[in-house]
């Protein structure tokens, strides 16, 4: 008797649950990126951007009468965990993903999404190989390393002209990729790279490396990787009396680098996506972020906003939530978004995306590097 009671109650509960699910029609968008781990603050940039877009779209009545809902998934920037997350997303029946963040995490996850017909837009992964696989449903709202690397490389060749240059990277897909692109560009311009070396991310002692650079009389160091390691390198360089000019990609452009390196971060050169938050067209959006006490200036905030925006636009235009139809729409149409006019080529890369060189300051702010307009570039 008791078990029958329990079973029928259970059935009732399940039934009620199912009706409540179908009653509130929602389109779930998976937000995949690091919630934990050493680069979690980049994940935050991505999440606040995407959540803002979801909120604003819902405030205007959602998409085709349905509301958007963002669900966060934590990959901790680890390839292994990214695969687990991707499988979880598949099992949850989610068909749209904004993410992942780290290229080495996005790469394996994108294979799974492509196989399962899930539409993925990464607002942060810059490694070229992600879109080179030629998946129909994989896009990005950021430039590629082979666009960013040359911007940095040309800036070095035209304005720095180092006598003795070193390139250091963290042996990860993103860091090594952008470092290699920089090396190729500067070598083409006739600059010799004296040292090209990898380090182990997560280590704390770089004194041996710094002493070596000092001995080689290196006057310029390009670092491909993220800010925790570069922060320590800068700090230890100062301690060991090594005062070369440093430069890094957008993965080091984070106020935390100033906390770690202190004074040593003054004058660091960083290539970042151009500052979309200063575009007058986005004033309204910037005000919305500021009203929520969020910082819209992080390099991945606007790209993440745009990723959701593009998905919504595709769904509205095709009046469907079929990832393939939306992908087809994105491939064929041009949209006006906070990061400018978005037009995709066949592989899912942006036809145009600008990286700009900035000077980083010890108080965590940045200013455009003084050399004028010659530094921006167009992705292929």
């Amino acid at each position: 008797m008791n078990t029958i009671m329990r079973k029928s109650l259970l059935a009732l509960a399940i039934g009620a649950g199912m009706t409540s699910l179908s009653a509130q029609a929602e389109i779930t968008i998976g937000l995949a990126g690091p919630v934990t781990g050493p680069v979690a603050q980049y994940g935050d940039m991505q999440f606040i951007g995407a959540e803002m877009a979801i909120e604003r779209i819902n405030a205007q009545g959602g998409v085709n009468g349905e509301m958007l809902k963002g669900v966060k998934y934590d990959d901790a920037c680890e390839p292994k965990q990214a695969v687990a997350v991707a499988n979880q997303i598949v099992n949850d029946g989610v068909q749209f993903v904004v993410g992942h963040l780290c290229s080495s995490a996005t790469q394996p996850a994108s294979d799974i999404y492509a196989e399962e017909g899930i539409l993925m837009i990464t607002p942060a992964s810059t490694s070229p190989t992600i879109t080179e696989a030629g998946y129909e449903t994989v896009f990005r709202t950021i430039g590629r390393d082979d666009a960013q690397g040359p911007v940095a490389g040309r800036f070095i060749a035209e304005h720095i002209k180092p006598e003795n240059m070193a390139i250091i990277h963290d042996k990860q897909q993103y860091g090594e990729g952008v470092a290699t692109a920089v090396r190729d560009t500067v070598e083409e311009a006739g600059i010799d790279v004296a040292v090209f070396e990898g380090i182990t991310a997560g280590q704390q002692n770089y004194s041996s490396l710094v002493s070596k650079l000092k001995r080689e009389n290196v006057d310029f160091v390009y670092y491909g990787g993220y800010h925790p390691e570069l922060g320590l390198i800068l700090r230890q360089a100062k301690e060991l009396g090594f005062d070369a000019q440093f430069m890094g990609p957008e993965g080091v452009g984070n106020p935390d680098i100033s906390k770690i390196a202190g004074e040593a971060s003054e004058g660091l050169l960083v290539t970042l996506p151009q500052a979309f938050e200063t575009d007058p067209k986005n004033a309204d959006l910037v005000a919305a972020f500021e009203a929520k006490n969020q910082d819209p200036s992080g390099p991945f905030v606007m790209p993440a906003y745009t990723a959701v925006y593009l998905m919504a636009e595709g769904m509205k235009a095709t009046e469907s939530t079929d990832p393939f139809e939306v992908a087809e729409y994105l491939h064929q149409n041009t949209s006006d978004t906070p990061i400018g006019e978005v037009k995709y080529d066949e592989s899912g890369d942006l036809e145009e995306f600008n990286f700009v060189v900035y000077n980083w300051h010890a108080d965590g702010t940045k200013t455009k590097a003084e050399t004028g307009e010659a530094q921006s570039d167009t992705a292929q």
Partner: protein, 306 residues
């Protein structure tokens, strides 16, 4: 001249790295010497101490105290207390209940404890790097012609403190009453118990002493690197464990020697080969030692008792 100055600089760098491995390695080696178990949670105790040091220094600075000496002493004392409390609790909760059973069970319990501690700090403190400014910047510079050798105050302090800690600990083990009890426990715990030594207390004290040294390492490395995150304990623990095995696990001078050798080997690899091969060299050394001298440089070959 330039080449030898460069070599000297790299040896200094190596001795600094090595000293830090050594301080943590002592904790591994003491616990192994007495209960024959590898305490994998030891690296996490070091990580927790570094957090405590940062919190104390940041908190006291906020209250307007800017005497460096006072900050350091206060941070060290609080870190020692908190680290010892953690180590004591870890031993009670995770190791004592499984002490009589197979070695593998204790090992798994230790790994579980390590994961728990890491995630507990992750939840409490977040995953972002926390940083403090250098408390003791500066140092000496000499050489000059072509290449100047830099020796920072912190590097000297780290090296000296390591040697002093090792000496004090070695004297404590060989001279004091509790030290004698430790040695007795390490030789034959059952017999020591029969002779009236409180072996449970001795084992608890071993964990506490190891944790106090980890707290010293947390203070020194926290001040030297200025950065902490919940993951530093894992890599530091792994390297320190390698150092302990290299020097002969169970031997305190061995742990220090192993740490220094490992540190210098890494620095020289970075100097003349490539930083990429650091880990290859350190773990290669470990494999060589395990193949040809499994009891380590200063350890004693284990005689199977019948």
């Amino acid at each position: 001249m330039e080449a030898s100055l460069y070599f000297l600089q790299q040896v200094i760098n190596g001795l600094t790295i090595g000293s830090t491995y050594a301080l943590i390695a002592i904790g591994y080696t003491m616990v192994y010497g007495i209960i024959g178990m590898i305490n994998f949670a030891h690296g996490e105790i070091y990580m927790i101490s570094t957090y405590v040091v940062f919190i104390v220094i940041a908190g006291l600075s906020m209250l307007g105290i800017d005497s460096t000496a006072f900050l350091i002493v206060a941070a060290l004392l609080v870190a020692i207390v908190v680290a010892s409390a953690h180590a004591f609790a870890v031993e009670r909760v995770a190791y004592r209940p499984v002490r009589g059973s197979k070695r593998l069970i204790a090992l798994i319990s230790a790994i579980g404890m390590s994961i728990f501690l890491q995630n507990y700090i992750l939840l409490a403190q977040g995953s972002r790097d926390k940083a403090i400014p250098s408390l003791l910047p500066g140092g000496w510079q000499f050489g000059g012609d072509g290449f100047a050798v830099n020796l920072s105050y912190m590097q000297v302090i780290i090296f000296v403190v390591t040697l002093v800690s090792m000496t004090v600990l070695a004297l404590f083990i060989s001279r004091s009453r509790l030290g004698r009890a430790c040695r007795a426990c390490s030789q034959d715990r059952g017999m020591a118990n029969l002779l009236g030594i409180n072996t449970d207390l001795v084992i608890s004290m071993t964990f506490v002493i190891g944790a106090a040294l980890a707290a010293v390492a947390g203070l020194l490395l926290g001040m030297y690197y200025g950065v902490v995150n919940p993951y530093i304990g894992f890599l530091a623990g792994l390297k320190a464990f390698t150092a302990a095995v290299l020097g002969g696990i169970g031997s305190i001078p061995g742990a220090v020697l192993g740490g220094l050798i490992l540190g210098v080997a890494e620095a020289l690899t970075g100097a003349y080969l490539s930083t990429e091969y650091n880990d290859v060299v350190s773990f290669g050394l470990l494999i060589l030692i395990l193949l040809f001298r499994p009891w380590g440089i200063l350890g004693k070959p284990e005689v199977e008792k019948i």
